[in-house]
C-alpha cells in the first residue's frame, strides 16, 4: 500500500508576486545560514533565510520587471540575476551589502535563462540568448568579453533559444552547450569552435526546459506538450532519443536533476510537481500543493544528504519546500 505523498516541509510566503526562479545556497559550513534566492514577477530578488523562514534581504535591480533567473557564482556572496528588463545583473552580497557591481545588457526580449559554467578560478563562461533572434552568445565573466556567438545555419528555422545548459566533461575538456529551441529541437554546440555538433528534434512544441547528466551523458527535456523526452549523447557526440515519457497533463515549465543523479523533479502547468527516478524515469511521486502553474523547481546543495530539500515556486506566489527522498 503506497504512502500518500508528503506535505511540504514549509511554505514561504511573502513575495507578493509570482515566483519565477529559485536557487539554493546551503553548501557553506555550519555558521553560515542556508539561503534560498528567489526571483519574482515584480522584479524583486528575495533572499530567504532557511532557518527563520523569513526574507533577509530584498534586492531591487531590474526596474520592477520580472526576474526569471538567479544563480550564485561560487559563494553565496556573488549573485547573478537576469530579468525582463533585458539585463543581467551581478551583485555583491558579502557582509550584508546589497550592491550591484556590474550589469550586462543583453538585447534578449524572451525568457531564456542564462547558463553559467566555472572554467577556472574566478573565471566563468555564461551562455545567454542574444539580441538576434536565433543566436546564443557566450560571454566570459567577469570580463564580459564575448567568446563566441553561436548562430544556426541560414534556413534552419529553429526559432528562439528557449533554454541553455553549458557544461564540460571535466576541467580540461572543451566547454559544450546544449540549447533547446522554439521548434522543439535540442542542439549540441561546440563553444570554442562555434559550430553545432548535433541536432535532435525532441518535441513538436517549443522546448521549455532541459537538464543534462554529464556523467551518464544523458539528458531530459520538457515542452508544452504531454511528452518528456530523454536523449543521450554517444561517443561521436551525436544526440539520440533514448526514451519518451507521456504525462497526464500537458506543459512543463522546469526540469532539474538532483546533484546525486538519483531523482529529478519537473514543474508542471497543471500545478503539480512530479518526481521521477533518473535511472529509468520511474514515476515516484506527484506533489500537489500549488493552486496555479509551478514555474520553477530547484534542489538544494546541502552537504549533509539528510538535509536536502526541494523547492518549487509557483504563480500562486508561494514557494513550497519539500524534503523528499532525502535519506537515500
Amino acid at each position: 500500500m503506497a504512502l500518500p505523498p508528503p506535505d511540504p516541509q514549509f511554505v514561504l510566503r511573502g513575495t507578493s508576486a509570482a515566483v519565477h526562479t529559485l536557487h539554493f545556497s546551503c553548501g557553506g559550513p555550519e555558521p553560515d545560514i542556508p539561503l534560498l534566492f528567489s526571483g519574482s514577477e515584480n522584479g524583486f530578488i528575495h533572499v530567504w533565510n532557511l532557518k527563520t523562514h523569513r526574507v533577509d534581504t530584498a534586492l531591487d535591480g531590474h526596474g520592477r520587471k520580472s526576474v526569471y533567473c538567479v544563480e550564485t557564482m561560487g559563494a553565496k556572496d556573488r549573485l547573478l540575476s537576469q530579468g525582463r528588463d533585458q539585463r543581467i545583473c551581478l551583485w555583491d552580497l558579502a557582509e550584508g551589502r546589497m550592491s550591484l557591481t556590474d550589469s550586462v545588457f543583453t538585447e534578449h526580449v524572451g525568457f531564456c535563462r542564462c547558463s553559467l559554467l566555472k572554467v577556472a578560478q574566478g573565471r566563468w563562461l555564461m551562455a545567454m540568448a542574444a539580441g538576434n533572434l536565433e543566436e546564443v552568445q557566450i560571454l566570459e565573466l567577469p570580463s564580459k568579453m564575448s567568446v563566441c556567438t553561436l548562430k544556426p545555419e541560414v534556413g534552419a528555422k529553429l526559432g528562439m533559444p528557449m533554454c541553455l545548459k553549458l557544461w564540460q566533461l571535466n576541467c580540461d575538456s572543451q566547454p559544450v552547450l546544449l540549447a533547446g529551441y522554439e521548434d522543439g529541437s535540442v542542439v549540441l554546440w561546440n563553444v570554442s569552435m562555434g559550430k553545432a555538433l548535433s541536432q535532435l528534434i525532441c518535441h513538436q512544441e517549443p522546448v521549455m526546459s532541459l537538464d543534462f547528466d554529464v556523467e551518464k551523458a544523458k539528458g531530459i527535456s520538457g515542452s508544452s506538450e504531454k511528452v518528456l523526452s530523454i536523449w543521450s549523447l554517444n561517443e561521436q557526440q551525436n544526440l539520440q532519443v533514448y526514451k519518451t515519457h507521456e504525462l497526464v497533463n500537458a506543459g512543463i515549465s522546469d526540469i532539474t536533476i538532483r546533484a546525486d543523479k538519483k531523482i529529478l523533479a519537473t514543474a508542471g502547468w497543471d500545478h503539480r510537481i512530479r518526481i521521477f527516478g533518473w535511472k529509468k524515469l520511474k514515476p515516484l511521486a506527484v506533489l500537489d500543493y500549488h493552486t496555479a502553474t509551478v514555474h520553477c523547481v530547484s534542489f538544494s546543495d546541502h552537504s549533509n544528504p539528510r538535509e536536502r530539500l526541494l523547492a518549487a515556486g509557483s504563480k500562486d506566489q508561494r514557494i513550497s519546500v519539500w524534503s523528499i527522498y532525502a535519506e537515500t
Binding site: 504512502l3 500518500p4 528555422k157 528534434i201 526514451k243 497526464v248 533518473w278 529509468k280
Partner: protein, 631 residues
C-alpha cells in the same frame, strides 16, 4: 473538281451530298459510326486520303453542314483525329465555323467533356485555327463573367462553359497568354464577383475553381488566387481539365508549371545534421547494474488525474462568467461554454430564477474568446436548449432581433437555424441534440420491446413518409414512438408569424427584398420547415393562409434559391394543413397556385425548381384523389 486516286478520276461531291442528307435526317451516328473509323485509319499516314476526307466535308452543302460537323466532332476519337478528318474546314467554311465556335459552345450544353476536349484540341492544333481558339476563349469568358448569365442560365450550362474555359486555358501557349493577360484578368475579376454573389453553393464553387485556374495561368510567378472550398468530384474533375496536355503538342509548358507548383510544398525542411532517430530501446534485460532506484519507493499517485476546470453549476454563475470581462479566467469561460447546454436542459424549472431571454441575448452576441473546438456548435446547441426550455419569450426576442438593425447576415441566419432546430425538438421530443446536417438516425427503437416487429413497423412508416415527404437539407424527422403532448403546438405561432411579418420592410442595413436575397432564401426555407413541423397544431391553418399569401407575393423572384424555398413552402403546406381546411379556406388560392406551378414546371430555368413544382402538382393530385375517394 477531281483528283487522282490510283489512276482513277472521281468526284467526291456526290458522296458529300449523300453524307449530308443522311446526317440531316438524323442518321449521323449510323453512317459516321462506320465511316469515321475507316477514315481514321486511312488518314493516319496517307496524305491523299486526308485530302479526300477534307474535300468530302467541304463539299457538303451548307444547309446540311451543321449535322455533318456535329457528327464528326462527336464521333472522332481524339483531337488529332478530328484535325486529320476535318482539316481547316472551320477556317474555310463559314457555317462550320459558326457551328464549332458558337453553336456547340455557347448555345448548346449537352455535350460530354470528351467532345469538348476534341473540339478545342482540334482548334489548337493548327496555327490557322489558333486565332479561332483565342476568339472562342474570349467569348466564353464574356459569358462566364456576365452577371445576368450567371443568374439566369441553368447550372448545367454554366458547368459546361466552365469546363470549356479550363480546356482552352490548358491549350494556350505562354505568348498567347501574355497577349491577352489583361483581358483574362478583367474577366476573372468580374466573373468571380458574379459567381460569389450567387446563392447556390455549386455556382460559387464553380466560380472559385475557374478563377483559381485563370489566376494560375496568368500569374506564373508570385502569389496565385486561392479559395477555400470543399473538394468534391466535380471540382477535382474540373481541375484535372486544366492539366491535360493534348498529345503531340508543344504546349507542355502549362503542364510543367502545374508540376512546379505542386512540387513546392515537398521541399524538405530538415537540416542535414538533424535526424529524428528512432529511439534506442533501453535494453532492460541486459542492464546488469543493480538498479539503485529500487530503494526509492514510489508514493501513492492515484490522485494524479487530468486537470479539469470545473464549470459553474448554476445558470446564474454561467451568465456571470460569460458576461464578465476578466480575461484571466479563460479556462473557466471555456468550461462554461462547454457545460452550458447540459445545465440549461437539466433545470427546466429554473424559469422563475433566471431570465432565459437574458441568456439568449448573451448567447446571440457571444464571440469566440479562445480557440475551442466546435465553438459554433456549442453555442448553437446552448441557444436551442434555451429556446426549447422557455419558448415563448425567447422566440419573441429572437424574431424581433431578426429584423433589427446592426446584426450581421451570419447572425440573422443563425437565428433562423436556432428557431428551426428548437421547433424540431419541440415538435418531436426525441430529437435532442441533432444537428442540421447529420444523416444518422437517432436510435429510439429501444422504447418498444426489442422485437423484430418494431423494426418492420418503423420501416413501413418510413417508406410511407418517404413517398409523401420531401427531403429538406436537414436530418430526417421521424415519427414518435411514444405519444407525448406536442409541445410545439402552443408556440408554433410565436415562431412563425413574427418572422413572416416584416419581410417587406427594409431597414438601413438589411433589405430582404433587395441585396440580402441569400437571407431571404434562408428565411423562406425556414418558414417551409416550420410549416412542416406545425402539422397537427391548432395554428396550422392560419399559418397556411399566411404562407400562401407570402409565397404569392414573392413567386417571381429572380433568385433560384428563393424560388426553391417558395416551392418547398407549398409542399409543406399541402402536407401539413388538413385537407378539409385546405378546401374550406384556401381553395381559390390553390387553384391559382396550381396554374403558377404548371408554369414553373415548364419554363423555370432551374432544374430543382422544375422538379419541386412537379412534386407539388403531384401532391395536389393526390389531394384531389383523396377527396374523390371520400363518398
Amino acid at each position: 473538281v477531281c483528283f487522282i486516286l490510283g489512276g482513277l478520276d472521281c468526284s467526291i461531291s456526290f458522296v458529300s451530298h449523300v453524307l449530308g442528307k443522311v446526317c440531316v435526317h438524323g442518321r449521323q451516328r449510323e453512317i459516321l459510326g462506320v465511316l469515321v473509323p475507316h477514315l481514321t485509319d486511312l488518314t493516319k499516314s496517307d496524305c491523299i486520303w486526308q485530302r479526300i476526307c477534307w474535300r468530302l466535308v467541304e463539299c457538303v452543302p451548307d444547309r446540311w453542314m451543321e449535322a455533318v460537323v456535329l457528327g464528326f466532332v462527336q464521333g472522332a476519337s481524339g483531337a488529332d483525329v478530328l484535325s486529320r478528318l476535318l482539316g481547316n474546314l472551320v477556317v474555310k467554311n463559314k457555317k462550320a465555323q459558326f457551328v464549332v465556335t458558337q453553336k456547340m459552345l455557347l448555345l448548346q450544353y449537352g455535350h460530354t467533356t470528351a467532345v469538348l476536349q476534341n473540339l478545342l484540341g482540334y482548334l489548337s492544333l493548327d496555327s490557322l485555327r489558333r486565332s479561332l481558339l483565342l476568339r472562342v476563349l474570349q467569348e466564353l469568358l464574356e459569358t462566364w463573367s456576365s452577371s445576368s448569365a450567371v443568374k439566369h442560365s441553368p447550372v448545367e450550362q454554366q458547368l459546361y462553359i466552365s469546363k470549356a474555359i479550363l480546356i482552352c486555358l490548358s491549350h494556350l501557349k505562354e505568348t498567347e497568354i501574355e497577349s491577352c493577360r489583361q483581358e483574362l484578368l478583367t474577366s476573372m475579376m468580374e466573373g468571380v464577383k458574379c459567381h460569389l454573389d450567387s446563392s447556390l453553393p455549386q455556382l460559387r464553387r464553380l466560380g472559385m475553381v475557374v478563377a483559381e485556374s485563370i489566376s494560375l495561368k496568368i500569374n506564373t510567378e508570385g502569389p496565385v488566387l486561392k479559395f477555400e472550398y470543399e473538394e468534391d468530384d466535380e471540382t477535382r474533375e474540373l481541375k484535372s481539365l486544366l492539366v491535360r496536355t493534348p498529345p503531340f503538342c508543344v504546349p507542355s509548358l502549362p503542364d510543367k508549371r502545374e508540376k512546379a507548383h505542386a512540387a513546392l510544398p515537398l521541399v524538405p525542411e530538415s537540416n542535414e545534421k538533424s535526424h529524428t532517430a528512432a529511439p534506442v530501446m533501453p535494453d532492460e534485460e541486459l542492464d546488469a547494474e543493480l538498479d539503485s532506484d529500487d530503494d526509492l519507493t514510489p508514493y501513492d499517485m492515484s490522485e494524479d488525474k487530468e486537470l479539469k476546470i470545473k464549470a459553474p453549476v448554476y445558470i446564474r454563475d454561467c451568465i456571470e462568467v460569460l458576461t464578465g470581462s476578466r480575461s484571466e479566467d479563460v479556462d473557466k469561460w471555456e468550461a462554461t461554454v462547454k457545460a452550458l447546454e447540459s445545465l440549461v436542459r437539466k433545470n427546466p424549472a429554473a424559469t422563475r430564477e433566471v431570465e432565459y431571454v437574458e441568456l439568449a441575448k448573451i448567447l446571440l452576441h457571444l464571440e469566440e474568446k479562445t480557440c475551442i473546438e466546435g465553438f459554433m456548435e456549442l453555442r448553437q446547441r446552448a441557444q436551442v436548449a434555451v429556446l426549447s426550455t422557455d419558448p415563448i419569450p425567447v422566440a419573441k426576442y429572437l424574431t424581433s432581433q431578426f429584423y433589427s438593425l446592426n446584426y450581421s447576415l451570419r447572425q440573422r441566419m443563425d437565428i433562423l437555424d436556432v428557431l428551426v432546430l428548437a421547433a424540431q425538438e419541440l415538435s418531436c421530443p426525441k430529437f435532442h441534440g441533432k444537428t442540421k446536417h447529420s444523416g444518422a438516425q437517432k436510435p429510439c427503437v429501444q422504447l418498444l420491446p426489442g422485437s423484430d416487429s418494431s423494426k418492420d413497423w418503423r420501416r413501413i412508416v418510413d417508406e410511407r413518409i418517404k413517398s409523401k415527404t420531401r427531403r429538406f437539407d436537414m436530418g430526417r424527422s421521424h415519427v414518435e414512438l411514444v405519444s407525448r403532448p406536442n409541445e410545439f403546438n402552443s408556440v408554433a405561432g410565436h415562431f412563425f408569424f413574427p418572422l413572416i411579418q416584416h419581410f417587406d420592410r427594409p431597414l438601413t442595413t438589411f433589405d430582404l427584398l433587395g441585396e440580402d436575397h441569400l437571407v431571404l432564401g434562408r428565411l423562406v426555407h425556414t418558414l417551409a420547415i416550420l410549416m412542416y413541423l406545425a402539422v397537427n397544431t391548432v395554428a396550422v391553418t392560419a399559418m397556411g393562409k399566411a404562407l400562401l399569401e407570402f409565397v404569392w407575393a414573392l413567386r417571381f423572384h429572380t433568385d433560384s434559391y428563393v424560388r426553391q424555398g417558395l416551392l418547398s413552402c407549398i409542399s409543406s403546406l399541402l402536407l401539413s394543413v388538413p385537407t378539409e381546411r385546405i378546401l374550406a379556406d384556401m381553395a381559390e388560392e390553390l387553384l391559382e397556385t396550381q396554374s403558377w406551378l404548371g408554369d414553373v414546371m415548364e419554363k423555370d430555368p432551374d432544374g430543382d425548381c422544375r422538379r419541386l413544382a412537379l412534386q407539388n402538382l403531384l401532391l395536389m393530385e393526390n389531394l384531389k384523389k383523396k377527396l374523390e375517394a371520400v363518398p
